[in-house]
Symmetry: C2
Subunit: 458 residues, 2 copies
Amino acid sequence: MTLESVLTRIDESLPEAMERLMTLLRIPSISTDPAYKAECESAADWLVTELNSLGFKAEKRRVPGHPMVVARHEGPGPHLLFYGHYDVQPVDPLTLWDRPPFEPAIEEGPNGPVIRGRGSSDDKGQLMTFLEACRAYKDVTGTLPGNLTIFFEGEEESGSPSLIPFLEANRDELACDLALICDTSMVSPGVPSIAGQLRGMLKEEFTLHGPRIDLHSGHYGGPALNPLREISKLIASFHDEAGRVAVEGFYEGVAEVPAELKRQWEACGFDEAAYLGHAGMTVAHGEAGYSALEQQWARPTLEINGLWGGYQGAGSKTVIPAEAHCKITCRLVGAMEPGDVRRKLRAHVEARLPTDARITWDSDLDGAPAAVMDTSRPEFEAARQALSEEWNREAVIVGMGGSIPIAYYFKSILGMDAMLIGYANDDDAIHSPNEKYDVKSFHKGIRSWARILDRIAK
Amino acid sequence: MTLESVLTRIDESLPEAMERLMTLLRIPSISTDPAYKAECESAADWLVTELNSLGFKAEKRRVPGHPMVVARHEGPGPHLLFYGHYDVQPVDPLTLWDRPPFEPAIEEGPNGPVIRGRGSSDDKGQLMTFLEACRAYKDVTGTLPGNLTIFFEGEEESGSPSLIPFLEANRDELACDLALICDTSMVSPGVPSIAGQLRGMLKEEFTLHGPRIDLHSGHYGGPALNPLREISKLIASFHDEAGRVAVEGFYEGVAEVPAELKRQWEACGFDEAAYLGHAGMTVAHGEAGYSALEQQWARPTLEINGLWGGYQGAGSKTVIPAEAHCKITCRLVGAMEPGDVRRKLRAHVEARLPTDARITWDSDLDGAPAAVMDTSRPEFEAARQALSEEWNREAVIVGMGGSIPIAYYFKSILGMDAMLIGYANDDDAIHSPNEKYDVKSFHKGIRSWARILDRIAK
């Protein structure tokens, strides 16, 4: 009977829950840009206040980067750790936003109302689903559910530089029975999804140096090495005609998807045409011979995320620039090891450098291997049943194209399994202008956690 | 005897002449950036005042862009028109400047004193050599030399959009017997040079559009078309392995340099190792089978001047951007026609577009064919003798890698030949940070014009 009361309480208090989310969304906690350091601090403070008011013992923990937030409620049952991140992606290009990214609002979308604003889906809206489920339990029963630790970080969008040392230093406190992570999306609108595997990530950035100084293309055009042309040739060399990464040894440790899993994926409700169409595409542009779903969930990638050099202003400038720059991320699967892929990628580039060119690599960028979950744990079946009830649709265990290194570190450092459940949709435009989170995701997300906690928290 | 007095006067008044140049250099007349409109106006005003004080009848002429400056002195002899431009290139990247670009100063360089600052060599320092020669004549004889029109524009570094209509509307006033242009460099330090041919130019800019919006590389990495990868492939396709432009039909209208002219060029004192070394290069990177001099003077190019897309800020962003951008200039030689080359370039790009990508072209960018001078005119021989006397070294008739479309328009619109003589050096870093003009170039440049005017102005 408690669950029914909790669900009713969630329905009745939805407007206040949305208002609390709006307050958090108004804080521009962009972690990758040092200019927003104070705002990241504010977001952490807001969460600490919120958690304490809910009955947790919450505090901000100092680390070299943006602070961690840790909160504890001792209770009966297995010790569960809930993870989320309060930092958000940068917002450029700002001109493509229809409203200021940190002035969130409810707007009417083609599929119902949405909460529009940076971080609404990634990850503030998602992390608040869990807190609001806790709040409803507290309101109905007078206490928080089960035996809980809450752990929020503020550097997820900037490579989590403080995470590993913090986990290592706080092993006893954070090594719980199971981690719950709410930072993923549903395979298709309305299809509740639990992540069975996540891709890993390797980040790289390099500068190609050519002429000693910027040159005049009249005086030097012809004889001069042009770094923009050379970096383009390097980037063009990263893939073959079939869309396969052409870096030698790149696919070591990559296995084909087992036939049985592939069959499950094909039946999971993923709408390839809608997925491509949302992005304005008519075909899948990845490796030939693989479906869009496999390209996204089970195949490694090498993507250029930023490329620049020379004159970008209005008009024309007849310059041959001294340098060109490139940001890269690789998504990793299976047993691919970030350090190994990094060595291969760098060797590929260095081997192709023309005379008079040299490369400098950014040495501060990290990586994490792919994560494969232990879906045989009973909590996965309990969550599957809870989600199926809430969404009136069989929940599915899916792959994920994104990288949530925390799942890997929870396992490797704390020995803790993780269960990733999220309510985002593919059209949420996370990391893009006009990010949104469906009100339905928020509402049913809160209800889903209430049902899951009802099954596994006690 | 007048010439000797004029040369002495030039030597004695050099400090004041440098002070006047410094004043002009302090005006940040960047024509390509609309933010500097008022400063371009100021530079024009300063020149009008200067010319009037010299005894010219000078005025600013309104055009849709930055104003023209026209000044007239009626006198005996052939009607000569002197051309220069008062606008300068942008200064980014500002961090690479050792001093503020518009706070010029005399500095000691490895080869003697230099005037450091944006525009010192291109073209403010050069145009002032002519005005200072006129001033010395005026000081010594009480009147300006010969029959002169001065014509300065303020849009040379931004494609001269107002030039053609202005020449067409003022044909009678501007169609003189010969144009003198001071906007070129010496083939080697101390070797006086007259331009026999100039490369033309075609400007292009395009945007490659891929996904409808910026995408998350976790959700879409693999299936998504990445515009940064695609634009790199396009740029890589512009040249073949031998450094030759691979756009079909690009070389139509290009002739090999006649053996006799090639022999003259080889003997003109061009120091290939020094030229390459100045730019930090050990080999010429242009078309295989051509010397650096031929690659610069007699071969067409396709250069990327700007390339950008995606995230350029600090840290990492896992974005697949919706767009990528590219600025291009082609240097043209022989009979290459800009409109024809533009069609071929665009066809090359459009033919290589993958599914789901499209291109938009900037339609505001112009072009001009190459210019070949009539070096058989007697003024060329007179100038050659005058320059040889001043520099104590046989003057040479050379090619030029740069594009000075004005020479082409003077001929095609006004029917007027042009003689291009300049005193810049290849290490002047024009269009680059730390631009400079040798004090020797400035001083002997003034003396050179005095000697040339002595021979041809009366």
